[in-house]
Amino acid sequence: MSIGVSESGRYVVSAHRDNKLILWDLQEKQWNTLSGKANLYSAYFVPGQNAFLWQDTDNIVTAQTVDGDVLKQFQHFPTYGHVISKDLETYLSADEYWNVFSGYGETKRPVLKDGVVPSFIGAGKLLNLSLDRNNTFFVTAGFDDDSSVIANHSPLKSSQRFSKYGGVTLWNANTKQPVAKLRGNSSKTHATISPDGQWVVSGDEAGNSITWHTSNPQHRLRAARYNSGLYIDGLSGDLPDSDYFDKSGLIEAPRGVHDFTIAVAFIHNSEYYLRFGNNSHFTALFKTGSPWPVKYLDLGESPKLVTYGSQYDRNTAIATSPESGTLVMGHQSTGGISVYQFDPEELTLERAWVVK
């Protein structure tokens, strides 16, 4: 399942395993099936517009308004994730080999094409794409880390087997060149860029979550682990275990909360983000740039959400509108969704609608 939420928080678009494309109206609390031929990974809401992006199984990508007006349409390879800018001018897409392209048709250009491992086939998840609202940066996030430096490895060196850009990478949205490799994650990794383009936040299968400021991408800001606290980098290896962690800002965590992260998503502009743990119905609220969880929010035990079952490949079924504070999550086994509303004053998350 892939989901997109309109910036206004009124509309949701979702693409499902049975190829249905559904448009949900959260205000009217009703939904409409627009197509039975949708690419599962292609539902995306155009930022700042009541328009969304999707691809059908004939490989036609369409940007259309919620009223059905077609704004843009073109033939394209089967996408495994794509994003588009507000002005519909910047279009980025990934294929099953985690190659990334900008543009389409005559203007299609490879951005990343440097090896076939890892890939969607090879990592069991999408290469997550995230574009900021100002078209300054975009982020790719996939699997593990890579210690090589950008200067030594072109992202277009396609002759090698193993990609050097499978981890979290910050890219310049205008030049389409890599700006920085954002290191520190392990295994399946998700990352997203803040709407204002100033922050990148990641979360991974080993329970690491890291924030970088895009003006200083070499500086890594770890998020605290829920039980042990904030890891202090750079200490020697001979100290007692507890010495490596700063617990000073920890709040009491509920039983069942889990560091192992499936997805991260901004929930209030660029100021607050949520972190979703594997096999857990809790999400942790963080203030951007601060390592400490502000609050743990219960998403509800039933119906069971997409965060259960080690389904790192379904982190696209968690989507937000940071402008309106809307969170939409798919359910684990059904095609239903749960809709939540975030209150930035009370720091609460209210489940507003459940469709089983």
Binding site: S119, F143, R161, G207, N227, Y231, R255
Partner: protein, 643 residues
Amino acid sequence: MTLTGNLPFSPSTTPLGAHGAPVCKRETANVLLSRSDTLGRPRAFIDAGKIEDESGRSFTATLQNGTEHTPDNAEARFTKLLTGNAQWYGPEEPKGEHLIGFDTVSEQLRFAPGHTLSEGVELTVIQGERKARAIHLPPPVFINLREEASPSEDLLTDDQLDYFRANGNNALIFMHGYNVPHGEWGRFLKYDGSREAYHGNAPSFAKANTWHPNRATVWQDTAALSANSSVSLEDEKLNGGGAHNWAVHMEYQLNRAAGFDGEDWMPYSRIINISWPGDTGSTDFMQAELNAMASGRRLAPLLLQLANAGIAINLLSHSLGARVALTALNIMGIIGKRDLVDHLFLWQPAVADNALTNDSSRDVHPLGLGVFPAAHSAARKIVVLHSRGDGILGADNSEDEAWWRKALSFKHPVATTAWDLATADDPMDDVLGNLRGAYDKKWWTFPSFLDNGFGPAIEKLYTDYLPLTFEAWMTAHPQRSLATPETLKQTVQENWTRLEKDILTEANALWQPCIDCLRNGERPPDYTLLAPLNHQASVNPQMAKDYVLRLKKLAANNWVPEQQPRPALGYVGLDEVTRRGAAEFDDFIDRSLTDGKFIPVDQSTWLFSHSGMRIPSEEVFNRSYDAAIMRRVVNEGGGFGHY
């Protein structure tokens, strides 16, 4: 030219020579054959086979030494062959090498292993001397820890060491899992063109398959060969059994993951295979654990040998092979060998989920063999590939249901009820959540408690000191119940006194020699009475006393442990020891996840059996072999061969 015009044929102006001359007068020539491996290194001949020349005559060779830079018998000279088409029949070398190439000045032929056994290699004998080079895959590398062997036999030969140095200066060591016998190599199928004559006949008239006597030390595609055969082929016939079957499968898949295309065998790289005695029977898990630790002890000097030669090391273990690997690394860590190996890959490890902790006080195993507190320091990275789809390590695979239920019902009736509940309509996660609380993890009974538990292995270990429990004696010898309880108690007490004394004697005797041997890169002596502590580099007197206390406590409880075992690392991964609120939260493991030392790979959505990596699905291949293992080895480690 009137005379010429009258002739009935046109005369030839070609002088007599290579063609048209009588056989007895055609030129003869020589063939100078040399041999190399896939790295181009000269190899000696033991038997250079034979060449059949165009007349059908067979020639054998004279072996000679070549130059001062080549080994003895590096060249084979065949003399006085008729020029023209010939066929070389080269025998497979006894060490398990396979011909994969044949180079002359004008031609470079390439073959799949075993391909030339039936038909030989075509060769054109030219005037003077034809020089040709036969290219063989290096022999497989197989360390047999099942037999008593001198310490040097647990190490690589100089030639093997040179191979790994020359082939990328790296080596990957694989350790198979529990319940794998030693087995034998497979064979190559003999190609029989006459089979075509039976086309259209009923299957019962089909000719039976025949096999070359040569050992097949590389993987063969059973499915593809079956499709071309008149009868279905068994994997074991082609790819061998037991540890040999695992060896060829794993080696092939690892090469494939590194980029091997299945056609060009020149880059194909050998791995180091460890065969250890894990096949103690499906109900004697603890004995297999003891064997694993004794084997890990023998593996330690091999790691030192490779490291001292400057060769990058990656370890890959399956199932209880993890205990072999972790024992070796624990010993290396204890003697201060930091980051000796690039990666340890634990694939479905059959050890406790907190086995990697650095804190031995977290060991819930009653005899103290559940954790390897120093292993982490000997590896730069440890990757844990785990899956809740593993029905051997946990209770999730319906194919294993019969075995599992049968085993559980014998020992844990409550767990059987839990199983019935678990297989009801509720989603698995819901039921498991309840079970964790309600049954205090009895649900996660580890195989070592099935049927026999600890008793048999311990009593086998201490045969000379039995009985060690009063109840055991009464149960085992009801006909001797006439003996007075007081006498029996005295006997038991005397046995304990003797055992304790002998254990302490063993500890005192071996403590320093163990350290000395390891510091010299030699195999440390084995503990026998202290066998459950063979994962330690050495056992000092205090450790021995602590062990005796644990043993007494276990005996007093009739070999039934008080504490439930930890779930298997290969089943739950590092989930249970790092989750908020977990009783066994482990600070060190949590830290090691943070600094990237430990890397979990949750395969629950694509690996659905304990041994699914031996014959992998495409998903297991792409996700586990390629992305999780080989990408790390190649990009972040010392590499795999020359890929």
